[in-house]
Structure formats: C-alpha cells, structure tokens
Amino acid sequence: MFEGISTQLLFGQVLLGLINGSFYAMLSMGLAIIFGLMSVVNFTHGAQYMLGAFIAWLLLNYLGIGYWPSLVLAPVLVALTGMVLERLLLRPLQGLDHLYGLLATYAVALIVEGLVRYKYGSTGLPYDNPMPGGINLGFMFLPYYRLWVVVFSLVTCIGTWILIEHTKLGAYLRAANEKPQIVETFGINVPKMMTLTYGFGVGLAGLSGVLAAPIYQVSPSMGSSLMIVVFAVVVIGGMGSIVGAAITGYMLGLVEGLTKVFYPEAASVVIFMFMIISLYLRPAGIFADKESV
C-alpha cells in the first residue's frame, strides 16, 4: 500500500513530527497553565519563545555564554520580564473581559517582535548546534541534538505534569484555577501566585526558544508562525487542560509529520482540519473535563 515510501522518509518525518510536537507541547502547556489560572489568552507567548532564542543568541554573541548556561539563563530572563509584564499590564486588566488581556498581550507581541526586527533585521540568525553528529540507526540517521530536544521536552512536560498534579504547589494551582477567591480565604496570596505562574508559563516558552535556536534560525517571526499552530493545539486539547495540551501537542506534531509523508499537500492544513472536527464534536476540547464545558 505504501510502496513508494521509503522507511528513511517515513522515520525522518516521524522524527520531524516529534520535534515539532515537542515545541507544540511545551508552548501549549505554558499557554494552558496561564489560561487556567488567569483566564488570559497569552498572545505574547510566541514573542516570548522568540525572546528565549534571541537571548540565547545575544548571550552567545556578546558575552560568549554558550548553549548550556543559556538553557537556564534565557528562560529565567524571559520569566522575569514576563513577571514584570504581568504586574504592570495584566494585573490591572484582571476581572475585565478576556478580550482586554488578549489584545494587550497581542500588542506586546507586536512591539517585541518589531523591536527585534528593527535592531537585528528579519533574516534568521544562525545558532550553532551544541551537539553535532548523530547516530545511524540503520533505517535512518538520528542527529543527537534532535534526540536531545525530544527527550528534554518530554522530561520537561512530564516534570511539569508531576509538579501540577502531584505536589502541594500544584494543588494550590489547580484549586486557584477553580475558585481563586476561596483559595485566597485560606491565606494564599493569589495575586502573587498569578505573577509566578505567568512567569513559569512564559519561562517554558523561553526554554522552548532556546531549544529551538539551533534547529530553526533565530528570527523575529519564529514565534508568530509557530503560535498559529500552537493555538490550534490548545483549542483541540481544551483551554486550560495542561495534560491535554501536552498530549495534543505531540500527537498533532506526529500527525503533521505523517501527513507530509502520505499526502504532503495537506500537511499545512491537517492541524486546522483537526481543530474544526474537534470543535464540532467536542467544543470544549478533547481533554476538557465535563464541568468546564
């Protein structure tokens, strides 16, 4: 049935799908965490992802700080700027219609992208692969760095899941997602928790950006092109469903990769077709619990 298709191509695309899925998963997880607690659709997410990659590039080119320290430093910096943004811009919008947060974060995304484009142009900046080489598996060649991205993203997603589902901190987060006022009557500083949560969510975006830098080129628009798909992922998984976001991310990355093998013409639209079907069948998302429908 699949005669014309070489295993090389098939596994190559599966790997590419997993790579893309890794970014979808990490980004949509951050979005879902932020949306769950703050009801903010964080349109700055793509810019914060780009910022992560860009900070890594700046650290390397101006301070000589390499990939590994950047993997920690850049996300922390993105998280810090995110927390400042939350305090100055998002907190005053709390309690207003979702649209305000959405527009405000979108505006910030445009500003950040514009500034980077103004200073560094829109052509991609190269970032050297910190793990050159690879391993020949017989049926395909597996570059080490790509393997690292998939493994690291899986560990990050599972770690985030454990943090949220199986720790006290996560219990506060889940509880505050449901009934923030009640959590506050227990003496929890919920506004501060929102700031930290926003920092964590966008920190994940920054981390994804650093991971992406050696694979994709560092460019101002690297985030916005990815975010269109990531928003589709979040909608399919269910806004606010953290596990759903991650699983859907990997799944759709794979679907996209496989579509490239079997019907390349549909590869760029397959995720949106999924979105339409899932909106039709389960409007609140595949992984949304019934109560949030």
């Binding site: 219990a171 889940r174 509880a175 006022q181 009640i182 506050e184 009557t185 227990f186 003496g187």
Partner: protein
Amino acid sequence: MNSLAMAREPDARASAAVMLKIDNLSAWYAESKVLHGMSFDVREGELLTLIGRNGAGKTTTLRSIVGIVQKRTGSIRFRDEELVGKRTFQIARLGIGYCPEERAIFSSLSVRENLFLPPVLREGGMTDEQLYATFPNLKARAGSQGTKLSGGEQQMLAIARILRTGSRLLLLDEPSEGLAPVVVKEIGEIIQRLKAQGFTIVLVEQNLRFARMVADRHVVVENGKVVDILSNAELEADMGRVKSYLGV
C-alpha cells in the same frame, strides 16, 4: 475535650472579651449597596448566628468580613486589627476560617488534597489525628475526587479543612442547607463540639431549629441591617418575636 472551654458558663461568656467587632458596616456588590450599617460583636468562645430572610445580607456580612466583598465602609475589628482595607489573604492569616455556602470543594483535587490544602497559619489548629477522629468518613474516602462525596460529606470536608489552620474564628455559611435531617443533626453535633473546644463561631442559618440547637446568641438581619439581637434563652422564650422577622 479542651479544658479551656469546658469551664466556661454562659455568664462567663457574656463577659468574655470581644473578638470581632462590627461597627456601622456597609458593603456593595458593584454599585448596589447590600449592607446598610451593620453593627454587632462576637465574643471570644461564643457561637453567634446570623438569621434572617433570603437576601437579608447574612452571606454578604461573612463575605465582607473575609474581604471577598472588597467595597465596604465602617469598621470590622478582629482583636486589634482593622479588616476593612485588608485583602482576603491577609485577613485569613489573622486566623479567620471561612466555610462558604456553596461549600467550594475543588473537583480537581482529591478529598485528601482538599482537606490539606489550606496551609497552617498559626498554632493551635487540629492535628491530622483529631481531624480524622472528628470526621472518620473523610479518612475512608481520602483518595476520592472531592466532588464525588455526598452533600453532607462535602459539607464536613468544607468545615474540616479550616480546622487545621489554627484559625480560632470560624465563619460558617448555612452548613445545614440542602442536607437530610440526620446529616443536619450530625453537623450540629460537630459544631457544638467545636464550640466546646473553644472555637468562636459565626453561623449563618435559615434553619431556626438548627440555630437554636447550637447558638448562644442570635443576630437578626433584615435589609442589610441588624434589627434585633437576642440570647438563645430569649429566643426560646419568645419564638414569635423571631418568627415575625423571618416571616414564617
């Protein structure tokens, strides 16, 4: 039982220190004024009910004390602290536990997680053993999803989770609502036991029989004002007086 509370007679309670003093409290939901100058106080170790018709402002009074209703004027003094102007989490940390009418059990948390969610804020809270001794059902169902419990169990959970925190003032909003008589009785016994352990309790209650069973004094609320305050003995002696307020 706590020896501190055992010796306390009603007369002693009447002279006990004022723990919570509410003076000329007004409160608003957005633009609509719901409380119009409430004044009453709650003494250390006392069990006070707020009674009155639906919409009289009883729930709003509790929500104003804990700061969920932020727009308020007048004064709410808890021991030496003024609560008007404070945020909810700051108020809670002074040692005020709040059990809302809707119980607010978290569906994404297990019973155990619900129970242990509120952090211990100060000393003197119940230990885990004491909690499970008081609420054995919750131990048996610790792993279940919080909202899978029966209404009565959810109510117990909502009360239980604020007993660990070291809060000495408990605000309970209609714990008997919507529950079977046998469960109401059980909750009444638990509340009496809490009182005996020295907790100070403000109870919003529509169920007069339940209120009589547990309370020292009753504050009658009407249209956001206090229209009468009477001791439980006075209530027993003159049920007509209260029933006329409640319109029953």
